[in-house]
């Protein structure tokens, strides 16, 4: 059990309630046992006190004249006769002594010979007849009584009573109480456990279904569980199932939107590429027309050939960049400064089209131990989204730097910021919940997914000036070469 599991607060309620019941039962049982035993002890003590008092009083009356005469035989005979008269108390021994504690006669003269002192052990443990009390650690109770005649003490009676039977009765009652209390404690704890389990079963069913979301997807609570539940719980289950259906429908819709957005992205890409190819293509056609008309003029031919060459180079760059951007990502390669140069190049048509200003700064050179293709995708999407959000004439700021063992990329744009729900999802790294209701949503979804793959962090903020998205991607190797 973990440390957390030791804390009672973390225990399930199905354990807590039976445990509380058991503790209460034990407490009540202990209290009842103590009270019953105390009462039993009082009754036994009182009973023994009365019996021993009656015995001592009777014996005192019968032996008193013989004690006055120190008549050993008559004292002994009186003790012998008293045995049969008090059969309801278990007498171990009886001693009749003079005021100096010298034995006159005893029930067992072999153990307590006449004219010998009462054993010290007996004198120490003897108690007056009005203070009779059974001690749990002593199997006998020794009671003493002074015999008085005309105001003077003429002798002493000491009777030793066997109280093993009373002690056995106490033990028996104690065992019976403990047994009964234990039975009821276990019974009520088990009953409480079962009852609590039954009462908390709906919560467990809900918890189990909610746990399934960790593994993806929601499932509805089946009709059997709903049918066997109370009205309140059935309502709860039905509400939960309604929520599950709504969430599942939303996920399906999101998946559909995702597919549509992918197609839209492909269209935009094709349009962008057509635009990129169309611009030089127009120039090249003009140059070719000029070349046809002024074939004989060397300056014109030279100039037209130059235009054709630059146009083809420009088309080649667009094709090359597209290949780099969308080639098979399985072929991992390290990030190089050329990737970021390509980004700038890919963004340029958008910048020009929207008459935007791009502030570009990258503080590192050569290669970094990081997946170059993914970072290019992240950067391209960040920049395209920023351009989209900045609008016509907007400003875009791009920064790339090494911070400790990670690559930090930040893209800031003027204009409108990121919608609140997207902002929340970005900051909480929850790409599944991103609303894909526009082109920026798809880009952000791609960013989130790639950053997650690279075990990086995203932080997005809005301000009066616009939006700022920062991405921090850990480097695979601690040492960064040629960091600027």
């Amino acid at each position: 059990m973990s440390f957390t599991g030791l804390r009672p607060a973390s225990w399930p309620i199905s354990i807590k309630i039976p445990l509380v019941v058991a503790i209460l039962m034990i407490a009540i049982g202990t209290l009842v046992t103590e009270r019953v035993l105390a009462k039993l002890s009082d009754i036994q003590d009182q009973n023994l006190k009365e019996l021993s008092g009656a015995y001592l009083d009777g014996l005192s009356t019968s032996v008193l004249p013989h004690v006055l005469r120190a008549d050993i035989w008559e004292i002994f005979d009186a003790i012998e006769r008293s045995k049969s008269q008090y059969e309801n108390i278990s007498i171990v021994s009886t001693i009749v002594a003079d005021p100096r504690d010298i034995i006159l006669a005893a029930s067992d003269p072999g153990e307590f010979p006449t004219e010998t002192p009462i054993p010290e052990s007996h004198l120490k443990t003897a108690i007056p007849e009005d203070m009779v009390r059974i001690r749990a650690d002593l199997p006998v109770v020794r009671v003493t009584k002074n015999m008085e005649f005309q105001g003077q003490i003429i002798g002493k009676l000491m009777v030793t009573l066997d109280v093993k039977e009373q002690l056995a009765e106490r033990r028996s009652v104690r065992l019976a109480l403990i047994g009964t209390n234990t039975f009821f404690t276990v019974f009520f704890a088990a009953f409480g456990y079962l009852l609590t389990r039954r009462m908390t079963r709906p919560m467990q069913i809900l918890a189990e279904h909610l746990d399934q979301t960790k593994e993806g997807g929601f499932t509805e609570i089946n009709a059997t569980d709903i049918g066997s539940s109370s009205k309140e719980i059935s309502t709860l289950y039905n509400s939960y199932n309604s929520m599950v259906r709504a969430v599942n429908e939303r996920d399906m819709l999101a998946a559909t939107l995702h597919e549509e957005e992918k197609l839209a992205s492909l269209g935009r890409l094709a349009a962008a590429m057509a635009h990129e190819i169309n611009n030089p293509l127009g120039g090249m056609l003009n140059a070719l027309e000029t070349l046809k008309r002024h074939e004989g003029k060397p300056e014109v031919r030279q100039k037209s050939i130059g235009l054709l060459e630059r146009g083809l180079k420009s088309i080649g760059e667009v094709v090359q960049t597209s290949l780099l951007a969308y080639r098979n990502r399985a072929a991992k390669r390290k990030l190089s400064e050329k990737d970021f140069a390509d980004l700038r190049r890919l963004l340029r048509p958008e910048i020009l089209r929207r008459a935007q200003t791009l502030d570009w700064k990258s503080d590192w050179r050569d290669e970094l131990a990081i997946d170059g293709t993914s970072v290019r995708q992240i950067g391209l999407n960040l920049l395209l989204n920023a351009s989209h959000a900045a609008g016509y004439g907007g400003e875009i700021t791009f920064r790339s730097a090494i911070d400790k063992d990670s690559l930090r990329i930040s893209v800031q744009n003027s204009g409108r910021g990121i919608p609140a729900d997207l902002l929340h999802c970005l900051n909480n790294k929850n790409s599944k919940k991103l609303q894909l209701d526009d082109s920026a949503g798809l880009g952000l979804w791609v960013i989130c997914r790639l950053v997650e793959e690279l075990r990086g962090q995203i932080k997005a903020t809005n301000s009066d000036a616009g939006a700022l998205v920062s991405v921090e991607i850990p480097l695979k190797e601690a040492v960064v070469r040629h960091a600027a």
Binding site: I72, W73, F76, D77, D108, P109, G110, P113, T114, E115
Partner: protein, 323 residues
């Protein structure tokens, strides 16, 4: 009829007192009245029986007279009603008189009543008989194991290593009765021979007033040793072997005259004296009397002639001479 622990009561002499002695009339009448109507009913019943069975006596005449007072001193004692009833019934039948059995705790009380003539007969010990033989007339001496004699025993706790009184110095010693021959006089005489008195020789002495009590005292170790009637000890060893098993006989005296039944000399020659004497001497011939004898483990009550109480007299002299 079996003899149990409570059955045995050995009665010292029984005296049939006809109360003709005017000196004790008042006292006797008082005692007779105390006996109550029950005694009278017994007497009447027995009188009717005697009227048909005992023609030798003038039963109607005796039945109409005062009750006969029978003195009983416990040589060993329990209040055995069957023995008392049997003895009372037998004497009533045999004498044709209403009978009162008088029991006292000590020998002295019975002896005093007997010597004073307030008992018609009593079963006493040889020691008081010798002391008061001038005032007493022997009626009978019990026959035990074929002879009218017994022994005095010194006993100790079972397993005690002692063979004579010389091994008992410093004991807590139990006597039976100061007027008992076997339960006091014999031991005292033995000590007198050694120029010792009981209180000097023994650490402490006490009287249990009954030979069975002496055996109980020694068996329970209340006393370390005791002086007891040998006849009582032997009978107890038959009927209460678990009691005597806790004791051992240390020494036995010479054979001595058995405790006799005596009557006041003043009663000699009266019809009642003869009736009593006949009843006692013929007890072994009567079925009821035989049952009583069986309870007492005695053969019979024999004639007193030939019984030797000289040794008891010798003990008494030794003690008296030693002072």
């Amino acid at each position: 009829m079996g003899l149990t622990a409570n059955d045995i009561q050995l009665f010292i002499p029984v005296l049939f007192h006809t109360s003709f002695d005017t000196a004790f009339d008042t006292a006797f009448d008082t005692a007779s009245t105390r006996g109550g109507s029950m005694k009278r009913r017994v007497f009447l019943k027995h009188s009717l029986a005697l009227a048909s069975g005992l023609g030798a006596l003038s039963a109607p005449a005796l039945a109409q007279g005062p009750a006969l007072r029978f003195g009983l001193t416990p040589v060993f004692l329990s209040n055995d009603l069957s023995l008392l009833n049997g003895l009372e019934e037998y004497f009533s039948n045999a004498t044709g008189s209403r009978v009162e059995l008088i029991q006292k705790r000590t020998y002295q009380e019975i002896t005093t009543l007997l010597v004073a003539g307030r008992l018609d007969a009593a079963w006493i010990c040889g020691y008081p008989f010798i002391r008061f033989q001038d005032a007493l007339e022997l009626l009978s001496v019990p026959v035990w194991r074929g002879r009218p004699r017994y022994q005095a025993y010194l006993i100790g706790a079972a397993g005690r290593d002692a063979s004579s009184i010389d091994d008992l110095a410093g004991d807590l010693h139990c006597f039976s009765d100061p007027d008992s021959n076997s339960g006091y006089l014999v031991t005292t005489a033995l000590l007198a021979e050694r120029n010792m008195r009981p209180d000097d020789y023994f650490r402490k002495t006490f009287f249990a007033y009954g030979h069975r009590n002496v055996v109980r005292a020694v068996a329970s170790k209340l006393a370390q040793s005791g002086s007891v009637d040998g006849y009582v000890w032997e009978v107890l060893s038959q009927i209460e072997p678990e009691l005597t098993a806790k004791t051992t006989v240390i020494s036995k005296s010479d054979w001595l005259g058995f405790p006799p039944i005596a009557a006041p000399k003043a009663a000699v020659g009266t019809p009642h004296f003869a009736a009593i004497r006949n009843a006692i001497l013929n007890m072994h011939l009567d079925p009821l009397g035989k049952q009583v004898l069986d309870l007492l483990k005695l053969d019979s009550f024999g004639p007193p002639e030939g019984t030797d109480f000289a040794k008891i007299a010798g003990f008494m002299k030794k003690v008296r001479d030693f002072g």
